[in-house]
């Protein structure tokens, strides 16, 4: 080998600008282009509006919410009314949110965990108690959300939206109308269905399917539900919480799904239906809380009071298609939402809906059973 060859080692070619075609400038231009092209897929980051000044709060609110979970005019309306600028970020799992919070204040003033995680966060001392005097609109809440088991008296949380966990499916593709959890075992949906990648939701479904209490922690019950899930796993295409696009495009024809998600799919694929299984289903509510160490708690309270205004709450529900906990908002909710028994369930269906009970240490029994299902 010649010296010339020796000199070009390993990745040195990246900086080898000696060849005439690659003037430094053009190289840099190309790099810049590639960089820009790469960022197109990443989406835009948030602008970090932290203001650490003491005294009265800066006109800033850092809001951390689920994806696709707010109306287009909710934030602009708040900013217009109060002059408070809102930085809006998204997450897609309670686990991520919990982990982030546990590492210390993540810089957010408002978060929206699901009811069972509200319980965990209260136990872990991660939430700031609310000053209900600053939220007079709390009186607009439906009574069952003012004194719910997960947070009696709204000490830590104001409900955002509520919904149910049922089945989304395409009756034409399935070949029939279905009304209960055993539908996922139908031969016609084999390899074209999915269930949620959430331990409690999956076990709730399985416990219903084998005729048990969805909140059971009895070991024999859990074992039977685990067996059911292992056999169901062989039948489904995926265990996923990311079912919206496939349900829309036909990649999945049946999925264990959250109500509002399916209604959003319906807007683009009219043949998709949602059903609350007749043997029963989980209901849940996402509730807005102020994490410990929030820098703008007063602004967060102002926002909570704002979202409870009848028209603001109604606009939110009309957009995201989930149920509103805001009774005063109902007159302003679109008839398609208000008169649909699936979106606003009547009393007889409501009575069959169950919240996920906080299980404490017993939750680990389900976590272990879930690992066995996933690794079977």
């Amino acid at each position: 080998m010649t010296d010339e060859h020796e000199s070009k080692v390993d990745v040195a070619f990246l900086w080898d600008l000696s060849s005439p075609q690659w003037s430094r400038r053009r190289f840099l231009q190309t790099m810049a282009f590639m960089g820009a092209a790469g960022f197109l897929g990443v989406g835009c980051g948030s602008d970090d509006g932290d203001d650490k000044s003491a005294g009265p709060e800066a006109k800033q609110l850092n809001f951390y919410n689920w994806t696709d979970y707010i109306a287009e005019d909710t934030i602009p309306g708040f900013t217009k009314k109060t002059g408070i600028k809102v930085t809006y970020d998204n997450y897609s799992s309670n686990d991520d949110l919990f982990a982030k919070l546990r590492q210390g204040s993540a810089g957010y003033d408002l978060i929206v965990p699901t009811d069972n995680f509200v319980v965990k966060m209260i136990e872990a001392d991660l939430l700031e108690p609310l000053d209900l005097g600053m939220i007079p609109n709390r009186k607009n809440l439906d009574a069952r959300f003012q004194d719910a088991d997960y947070d009696p008296g709204n000490k830590y949380s104001i409900p955002w939206q509520w919904g149910t966990t049922g089945i989304g499916y395409d009756p034409e593709e399935v070949g029939e109308e279905v009304d209960d959890w055993d539908a996922l075992m139908l031969p016609s949906v084999r390899n074209r269905s999915s269930f949620l990648d959430e331990a409690r939701d999956a076990f709730g479904m399985a416990l219903y399917a084998v005729g048990m209490d969805p909140n059971s922690t009895d070991e024999a019950d859990i074992e039977e539900a685990q067996k059911y899930l292992i056999s169901l796993k062989k039948q489904v295409k995926q265990i996923t919480s990311d079912y919206q696009d496939p349900l829309k495009s036909g990649g999945l024809i049946m999925a264990q799904a959250y109500s509002g998600d399916v209604f959003q799919v319906q807007a683009e694929n009219e043949s998709v239906r949602y059903v609350i299984p007749k043997s029963g289903a989980f209901q849940w509510v996402d509730a807005a809380c102020v994490p410990k160490g929030a820098e703008h708690p007063k602004n967060a309270h102002a926002f909570l009071n704002y979202i409870l205004e009848p028209k603001v709450g109604a606009a939110l529900t009309n957009y995201v298609q989930y149920g509103t906990p805001n009774k005063a908002a109902l007159p302003f909710v679109d008839p398609e939402v208000k008169d649909d028994p699936l979106k606003t369930p009547p009393e007889d269906i409501l009575s069959k809906l169950v919240f996920q009970a906080p299980l404490g240490e017993k939750e680990l029994v389900i976590a272990d059973a879930w690992t066995k299902v996933k690794t079977s």
Partner: protein, 287 residues
């Protein structure tokens, strides 16, 4: 005099190494110690890892070695091995062609190989999903040319391997190219002149010369492929769980950080031992 000089040189060397040392301590040693510390902890609901009374809980390693994880582990090794073979099969001819025939386009061609890196891995895997889906691009194109549009690509083992090969190809091409670029191609002519066959020329000249690149490429592809959990999640189905996704699950829905940490430590040890054996058998001088 000499002794003092030696001391001074020693101190100087340490001083020069300080940034590297600091970096290794901060980003390698400390995280490693934390993972090992977690792996001997006890799980909890509120605190994911506890060490009640400072007691070390070694049972997590027993749980991690549970035979029920073996099929998943073997599947993961199979994915990583197929990925490595696939990357080598595509990467070698590619790197060879660029190194030998690229001429003045060499940098551009290599730039094109690296180009996908400027996009997030997640986005690229979603793109594959778009291509391979039941109603995706692949089925549309195959249907249009009369080969049927009902193929099932996603949620199969092959979809996962295709995604991994695509994702890790640059890791194979770059070291291969670096080796082949330095190769003196006149050696091939010389081999032919001396009566060598095509195959033996390839094996004894081309491959032999580029062995350092092959060794580096195999390691750079195999190791990350072994730990990958994103690809099976996006392209795989309910039967493509890997060891990496099992570890990830322990930090999420499985709620067992100590077990996840023990599994991670075991996987790391397995890789380390494997690399030592590999380096010793295949490439002691190649590395």
């Amino acid at each position: 005099m000499t002794r003092r000089r030696k001391l001074r040189d020693g101190a100087k060397a340490h001083g020069l190494l300080a940034p590297t040392t600091a970096w290794l301590v901060a980003f390698l040693l400390i995280p490693l110690v934390i993972i090992i510390w977690y792996s001997v902890g006890t799980r909890g609901i509120i605190d994911p890892v506890r060490h009640p009374g400072g007691k070390l809980n070694w049972s997590n390693y027993g749980d991690a070695l549970n035979p029920s994880f073996l099929p998943i582990f073997l599947r993961t090794v199979a994915y990583a091995a197929l990925t490595t073979v696939g990357c080598l099969a595509i990467g070698f001819p590619l790197a060879y062609a660029i190194a030998r025939f690229g001429g003045r386009w060499k940098n551009l061609l290599l730039g094109l190989v690296i180009l996908p890196f400027w996009t997030s891995y997640l986005v690229r895997m979603y793109a594959w999903r778009f291509i391979l889906d039941d109603n995706g691009l692949a089925n549309t194109v195959l249907g249009a040319v009369g080969l049927g549009s009902e193929h099932r690509f996603t949620n199969t083992h092959w979809a996962v391997v295709v995604g991994l090969v695509y994702g890790f190809l640059p890791f194979m091409v770059l070291p291969l190219y670096a080796s082949l670029e330095r190769m003196d191609f006149r050696l091939i002519e010389a081999a032919y002149d001396l009566g060598s066959e095509r195959m033996s020329t390839f094996l004894r000249v081309t491959l032999r010369t580029s062995l350092p690149g092959v060794v580096a490429g195999v390691l750079l592809v195999f190791i990350p492929a072994l730990g990958d959990f994103v690809t099976p999640q996006l392209l795989g189905g309910s039967r493509t769980q890997t060891f990496g996704s099992t570890i990830q699950d322990q930090f999420g829905q499985g709620q067992n950080w100590p077990l996840g940490s023990a599994m991670a430590v075991l996987l790391m040890s397995f890789i380390l031992i494997g690399v030592f054996i590999y380096a010793w058998r295949v490439g002691e001088d190649a590395l």
